[in-house]
Amino acid sequence: VTVHKKIDEELYEELEDILLQADVGVAATCRLMDEIRQDVKKRKISDAADLRNLLQGKMKELLGEDVSLQTDFPPPTVILVVGVNGVGKTTTIGKLAYRMRQEGKSVLMVAADTYRAAAIEQLEIWSERADTEIIKHMPGSDPAAVVFDAIQAAKKRDIDVVIIDTAGRLHTKVNLMEELKKVRRVITRELPDAPHEVLLVIDAATGQNAMRQAELFKEATDITGIALTKLDGTAKGGIVFAISEELGIPVKLVGTGEGIDDLDDFDSDEFVSALFA
């Protein structure tokens, strides 16, 4: 929080520190700081409060208009959930499914993480909590086969929303990224307009590696939105500015806890204000 009243080097340093410590990153921070220094000169800004508003305004511009999750396609809407290990994919799916159920939609969860210990059991518990149907195979089976099976079932049972859980995978593992591409191909083959949403789940505490994650997952499956999790911690999630600006991927959802209700739509005003809180 800046209590600084005049615009001087100390204030610039203070603002730069806030951005860097929020994981905004060196390049984006330097660019933002250069811009506001120029604006201060050009527009003869003298009030520190005006400077802060200027900076916050620029940061909101980087994020663009708030975009929410699209689910009003002709059923079934297919949402594919991807991301590296441990970021909160399975939990976010539970929360999202619950929200869809509250909206009166029928939901089918797909347990396509056939690899990790008790991944299917974990999703099953969320399915019970959110009151959804679930398609699963034996552990070790082909994720693409589970997805194929699920889409047939969704069509047959006239399901509104299909949400696919996938195994966590590091973006650097070529064979795992190939597996994901195959899953995506199966979806599109069975439903030409699907997947309607591909959500990349990112942990808000992630550092600059998030950019690499976004690049490679975008390359593999295309990404329509980010679900930024664990914002209830002390991390600010500043990595989304660069991701939004350089890759054009919007943040659509934020996770704010481990409970079934702890899912919000992304609000860039709130997000930017929280960064300076």
Partner: protein, 291 residues
Amino acid sequence: GLAEKLQGTFKKLRGKGKLTEKDINDALREVRFALLEADVSLPVVKEFINSIRERSMGAEVLESITPAQQVIKIVNEELTALMGDKRSDVVFNSSGVTVFLIVGLQGGGKTTTAGKLALHYKKQGKHPLLVAADIYRPAAVQQLEVLAKQIDVPFFALEGETPVTIATEAVEHSLSHGQDLVIIDTAGRLHVDEELMEELQEMKDAVAPQEIFLIVDSMIGQDAVNIAKTFHEELGLTGVILTKLDGDTRGGAALSVRKVTGCPIKFVGSGEKLDALDPFYPDRMSARILG
């Protein structure tokens, strides 16, 4: 990486005659950027730069015909020294059961690492017991049980009991079942969750672990200092295990955690399989951070 950037910085200065303090400060700015881009926390970066400033302003750099290399040498030496000793000297109870408490934030790799530690020490002739003290996360108990089965290690869980009770009962159980190493997996929790941090405190008081390992996801950014500092202040960590180093994250969190807790990084996780547990090599970590 940093080496190339510094070569570039000093190249521009060649032919200008003697290097000045300002020139060195420009070089230190490059080091600062490199560390920040590698996800080292800002306060740690500032402290590190200050600690190498004096040496960097010395004859060793100013009078060298390869000043960039000299700065790199200083940075590498200081960084590696900060990273600590490669020896992972884990503390074992000389008379009785040894207890490991595995703690950390959500999703960092605690459950998987508990399994890895069990396999590691089983291969060394110990008799581990894996204890499922995460009663909150859906199927957490099953997850650890599956891992225990995979490596044929005894497993302990209790329905309807608190984590503190589970931990105490597990140690009791190990005494009468010939297990000499009790590895307790706990629920992921935020360092700012007072209630859950208190729960860990109670578990520590109840079973007096020889090792309290903080599991840290190596892709964590600036928040690493906050997490490590709080866990260390409230529990007194004995070691850190850095996970998911099989990715391409630079891993600056390693320096942050090391600087702010003084705790040794005793192992690193380098994959999802239970044999993917490696010793920590400080020089390799430094090289990785500097890119």
